[in-house]
Amino acid sequence: MSKTRRSSKKRSLSKTRRPLLKLVIAALLGFALVLVYLDAKITATFTDKMWELPAKVYARPLELFVGANLAAEDFAYELEVLGYRKVNSVRNPGQVRQQGSRFDIYTRGFAFPGEREPARRLQVGLSGGKVRTLQGGGSDVDLLRLDPVQIGGIYPSHGEDRILVRLEEVPDTLRLGLLAVEDQNYYEHWGFSITGIARAALSNVRSGSVVAGGSTITQQLVKNYYLTPERTYIRKLTELLMAVLLDFHYSKEQILESYMNEVYLGQEGPRAIHGLGLAARHYFDTPLEQLGLHQQALLVGMIKGPSLYNPLRNPTRARERRNLVLDVMVEQEVISAEHAMVARAMPLGLNNQTRIRDTFPAYLDLVRRQLRQEYREEDLTTLGLSIFTSFDPILQRQVERSASAVLDQLDKGGELESATVVTRFDTGEVAALVGGRKVRYAGFNRALDAKRPAGSLLKPAVYLTALEQPRRYTLATPISDTPLEVEGPDDSIWSPNNFDRQPHGEVLLHRALANSYNLATARLGMELGINNVVEMLQRLGVEGYMPEVPALTLGAGEYSPMDMAAMYQSIAAGGFRMPLRSIRDIVDAHGEALRRYPLEYDRTVSLQAMHLLHYALREVVREGTGRGVYRYLDDDFAVAGKTGTTNDGRDSWFAGFSGDLLAVTWIGRDDNGGTGLTGSSGALKVWAHFMARASQRSLGYRMPDQMAPQWIDDSNGYVTGEGCPQARLMPFINGSEPKQRTNCSPRINGIKDWFQSLFGGDS
């Protein structure tokens, strides 16, 4: 049927023989096709999902309650990075007044996953490193969260970042001011405007400079969103057509809202600032709704030339432009002359906060890697997810300070590199991360990617394997620290040495670990079976390949600081393995919770054996290779840890924990050269410097059931009495106490007996 019709049409057209008409019809047809194409393009893309929204990455929110550990200086820092404004009188959200250790703040409030924290006025009193009073509205407040610091985003390659706003959130003066400057005829025209162009020209003449361009807001939106930037007549025509179509299909409000979200307002490194919402945050650190008139006028003025009128770089020009916009707003009767006069007198009102967004590349790298296990890169850069992490800006600042303080002192030449992982071991959350000495630069993330031998950091796994067999091994079991030779492949002989190049003969197990004796450890490991040591390392959370050779007992293999953090996390937690987490929750663009990463404990090691290991690791820092930590820490502050040094001092390690924090520090060189450092002369110092300033709680686990302390003669491992020579109190798993006894009987007065033994008394 269609065939016949088409042929008849053809015939009738050819019969007419009017070339001009044919041409016109063909042109009209072509035009119609273009129109259909453009129309389809517009209706297909102009939806809610038209914006690619980068994921936002947040730090942990600061919890405020009476008794919370918080120094005034740290609180001030947190508020500063949050961009709270220092004012003399607190009236609006996001303002703070600090008088010594008293803070009067108006919180911003925040929609946390599952619960909204309202904005509220608060009086916070701090002293002695703690929150002492917390009041709001005249009564005590039990608990609240500040808004979390945004520490970064996951941007698409073109770098566009924006915060979406709804038209009703935009202050009227800002909306009308925008129209007054960019498109005075907006509500009347059909997407383009001849009179608009004329009026713009007129207004330019009147003010003596170019205030307004000829394009309507609709045209500008089309140009920015759909078209490439080159200037040709074809492109201008397309722009005009699409503007009309857009105006035909959508309401003025929808188009204006899209424009406000699309408009480009500046650059910060690779990140492009789009939309009024983000610009308000970026330049003023204020939500759009709360912008002052002077700030609104500046934003409107910047649209014409975001770089030219960048208030950070060209404050004078920006100010002139702002005042010009204020004039136009008066002229168009958007604001009164009085208001404009007040606004003109205002400073630019920029935020002068310490910018911390995207300044923690190492931690963001960790977050990104954990996200990539479950999300596609494209989803991360477009869906507008909010990622809530356990990053703690206060701990991060301290660990950065400690690392640079110690390294600047150790290494003036700048050849040493360093990495530190800090976790809160009760929850297995990574709180801070240093990936190199230049903490602000993204690059080689040593905390995750430097793969090094671990030295004596692996030794606890050997001892733990032993202590899990209480019938064979206790802290008081004598083991042999004597030379050994092991045949390896290719007729090689492995014969380890002690650090002091001396064998120590028979030593008690606890002392062999505290003093990090290599010979004793290697012998013990071989006695236990290297495969069992490997299995223990796996139970402690070390993943990846481990060489099943005797040298493993002394740290052979390749391990990142993060691998060691996983291992010591399980140790610090008391024998519970948990994956190291950096992400708590993921929430979608509409505030719906997508994913929560729950806390999960998996007990993989005997609690009792772990308690024994803790005793030995506490001895390391009291009496053994790690005792340098008490140059930094208070005597009564209990910590546990282990030093690690590799051949020729290539790597200096320290891993340890207090009652709340675990930290693993590595120092070495990228070229794997010698550092001249041991674990205790290098990494230990960073660790202890940090712990002394950051840790709030001394190590204080309860002793597990089925255990009891027992006095032991430290020279031979026999049961002895309190106050006897060499008497030392050590924990034992019930029934594992040594069978042999000294013939010294317990005394009532321990102190007196100790004095007597010290001075060669009668015992």
Partner: protein
Amino acid sequence: MLDVTLVWRVGLIVLVTTVAGCSVYSVPGRQPAPVETRPDPTVVTPSSPPSVPPSPSEPVPQPPEPNASNAYGSLVLKAGQASAGGDYERALALLERAQRIDPDSAEVYLALAQTYAAKGDMSQARATAERGMLYCRSDAECRQLRALLN
């Protein structure tokens, strides 16, 4: 009348404390760390003698951190309501927040373990209770946690 032995003893104590202090721990440049301890009296601290004498009894109950329970109490309460209403995920989220506020509160561990148990996740209930036992400070607390181990 002067007791010669007493003088001798006092002299010794002074001498020994000074010597021990200098030789082992006292080093210049030490920074104070804020201390907040709830030590278990039965835990043995490795250090030079005299060691802490072993205590034959169970740990003595100690008061929790000042006001910390005020802070997380409302969360534990809300979690209990959520759990009673069958919303275990919300209950767990609330309790994890409570745990971050006071990470060594056995009470929070107990609530977490009970929520896991109510949810039917017995292995997490057991593991959480077991971990809470590292922090319990009173017979009653320890007993409640111990009950969840089986």
